[in-house]
C-alpha cells in the first residue's frame, strides 16, 4: 500500500462523503427535479479540468524558459487528468441537457467552449505522443498548451457575444439556495482534492517512465566557463 494508494483512498473517501451530500443532504430542485443533482459534479469537474490545464500552462511556460524536466512532467500529468475531467464534464452536461432542453447538445457558450477545451487538449496529448520524445515533444506541447489555455475564454466570450447578436432565449442564471451552494462548494473541494491526487499519481508515472523507459536524466544545467571572446 504505497503512499499514492493511501492518498487515492483518502480522495475516494472524500468523494463518497460528497456523494452523500449530493444525494441526501441537498434539496431536490423545484423546477428540474432530481436530474438537477448532476449539476454538482458536472460543474466541479469542469473547474477541476480548468485547474489541471492551468498546471499545464504553468508547467509549459516554466519548461520553455528554463527547460526543467519536472515542470514538463507536471504539464504532462495535468493534461491527461484535465482531459479525463473534461470528458466527465461533457458527458454529464449532455446527459443533463437531454431532460431539460430535450436535446443532448446546444451551442451555448459553456458547452461549446468545453468541447473546444476537450479538442485542444486531445490535440495536446496527440502532439506529445507523435513528436520526437524529449525536447521537441515537450516544447511543441508547451506551445499548444499555452495557446489552448488562452483560446477557451476567447471562444467562450465569442460565443456569448455571438448569442447577444441573435435575439434568443436568455439562459436563466441559477441563484442557488444555501444548502445547494454548500453541497456544491463541498463537492468542488473534494473534486479538486481528487484532481490533485490524480496529478501527483500521473507525475509519479511520468517520472518513472522518464527514468526507466526513456532513460532521460534531469538535464543538469550545461554551464560552460564564459571567457569573454567574441567570435
Amino acid at each position: 500500500m504505497n503512499r499514492y494508494e493511501r492518498a487515492a483512498l483518502a480522495a475516494v473517501g472524500l468523494m463518497l462523503v460528497a456523494a452523500a451530500a449530493i444525494f441526501l443532504y441537498a434539496p431536490t430542485d423545484a423546477l428540474q427535479g432530481p436530474v438537477q443533482r448532476i449539476f454538482y459534479l458536472h460543474v466541479s469537474s469542469a473547474i477541476a479540468a480548468y485547474g489541471c490545464f492551468a498546471v499545464v500552462l504553468v508547467g509549459g511556460v516554466i519548461y520553455l524558459f528554463n527547460g526543467s524536466i519536472a515542470a514538463d512532467r507536471f504539464a504532462r500529468a495535468g493534461a491527461v487528468v484535465g482531459v479525463v475531467f473534461t470528458t466527465v464534464t461533457l458527458v454529464m452536461g449532455m446527459l443533463w441537457a437531454k431532460p431539460i432542453w430535450n436535446t443532448f447538445w446546444t451551442w451555448d457558450a459553456r458547452l461549446t467552449s468545453t468541447l473546444v477545451l476537450w479538442i485542444i487538449y486531445a490535440g495536446y496529448l496527440l502532439v506529445r505522443r507523435m513528436a520526437e520524445p524529449g525536447r521537441q515533444a515537450a516544447r511543441f506541447a508547451a506551445v499548444v498548451g499555452i495557446f489552448g489555455f488562452i483560446d477557451v475564454p476567447v471562444v467562450h466570450f465569442s460565443v456569448t457575444w455571438w448569442r447577444t447578436q441573435h435575439p434568443g432565449p436568455i439562459v436563466v442564471n441559477d441563484a442557488l439556495p444555501a444548502e445547494m451552494l454548500a453541497t456544491f462548494l463541498f463537492t468542488l473541494a473534494c473534486t479538486l482534492a481528487l484532481a490533485t491526487v490524480f496529478i501527483a499519481i500521473r507525475y509519479r508515472i511520468e517520472t518513472l517512465i522518464d527514468q526507466k523507459v526513456n532513460a532521460v536524466e534531469p538535464a543538469e544545467v550545461i554551464a560552460a566557463p564564459q571567457p569573454e571572446a567574441a567570435p
Binding site: 520526437e132 520524445p133 526513456n214 532521460v216 550545461i222 560552460a224 566557463p225
Partner: protein, 214 residues
C-alpha cells in the same frame, strides 16, 4: 584559443544511445576527420557540433562561447553541410544562394565567388531540381561558405562529388577549422592531419598522423 572544446557529449534518441561521452578539442584552422561506419554516431556528433541538435548531456564550447546558449551568435561563425542538401528545388542555383545571403546578412556579391569556388558558375541559372546530385552537393557547400565561416562542419560531403572532390574540398577547407565526417579513409588522410574514430557512439581516440604526401 581552441575553436571547439567538447567534453562528454552524449545523446539518446529515446532509449537508443547514439553518442556516449565523446570528447573533442579542435584548434583554429585545424582539420579533423571523423571516421566510422553507418550508425556509429558520426551524423549525431556533427549535428551537435553544428548546434543543430541539443545533446542529452555534455558540454560544448565553440569560439569560447557556450554552444547551446549562444546558438544565434555562433551562426556567423560556423558553416554546416548536412546529409540532405536542403535547397529550394524551384529556385535556380544563384537564387538559392541569394536567398541565403539575405538570411546570412551578407552582400550578394558573395554568390558569384561561392559558385566559382565550387565550380558551378556555368549552372548559376539552372533550377536546383535540375542539378545532378553531385552539383546539388556542391551548391550546399557553396551555401555553407557564403558568410566566410571560421569553422566548417561537413557531413560526408564527398558522397557524390566525383573525382575532383579532394581538390574542391581542400580549396574550400583552406584556412578554416573543419570537422569532416567521411567513409573515405584516403580522403581523410589526405585532407585531415587528425582523425577521430567512432564506433557505436564511442570515440576510440584521436589519432594524429603525419600528413602522407601522395
Amino acid at each position: 584559443m581552441s575553436v571547439i572544446v567538447a567534453d562528454g557529449l552524449t545523446h539518446h534518441f529515446g532509449t537508443e544511445p547514439a553518442l556516449e561521452g565523446v570528447d573533442l578539442v579542435l584548434d583554429s584552422a585545424e582539420h579533423m576527420a571523423v571516421l566510422g561506419d553507418n550508425g556509429a554516431g558520426k551524423t549525431t556528433l556533427l549535428r551537435i557540433l553544428a548546434t543543430a541538435l541539443h545533446p542529452t548531456a555534455g558540454r560544448l564550447q565553440i569560439a569560447g562561447l557556450d554552444a547551446f546558449r549562444e546558438k544565434r551568435r555562433l551562426r556567423h561563425y560556423l558553416g554546416y553541410v548536412a546529409h540532405a542538401p536542403g535547397l529550394y528545388p524551384a529556385l535556380t542555383a544563384a537564387e538559392n544562394l541569394e536567398f541565403f545571403c539575405d538570411l546570412q546578412d551578407v552582400s550578394r556579391s558573395r554568390v558569384a565567388e561561392a559558385l566559382d569556388a565550387v565550380g558551378l558558375t556555368r549552372f548559376a541559372h539552372r533550377r536546383a531540381d535540375q542539378l545532378s546530385r553531385g552539383m546539388q552537393q556542391r551548391l550546399a557547400i557553396a551555401r555553407a561558405i557564403l558568410h566566410e565561416p571560421r569553422l566548417l562542419i561537413l557531413d560526408e560531403p564527398d558522397a557524390s562529388l566525383g573525382p575532383d572532390a579532394a581538390d574542391l574540398l581542400a580549396r574550400v577547407m583552406n584556412d578554416r577549422a573543419v570537422v569532416l565526417a567521411t567513409h573515405d579513409q584516403a580522403l581523410a588522410n589526405r585532407l585531415c592531419p587528425r582523425t577521430l574514430v567512432l564506433r557505436h557512439g564511442r570515440s576510440h581516440g584521436t589519432a594524429t598522423r603525419l600528413r602522407v604526401v601522395q
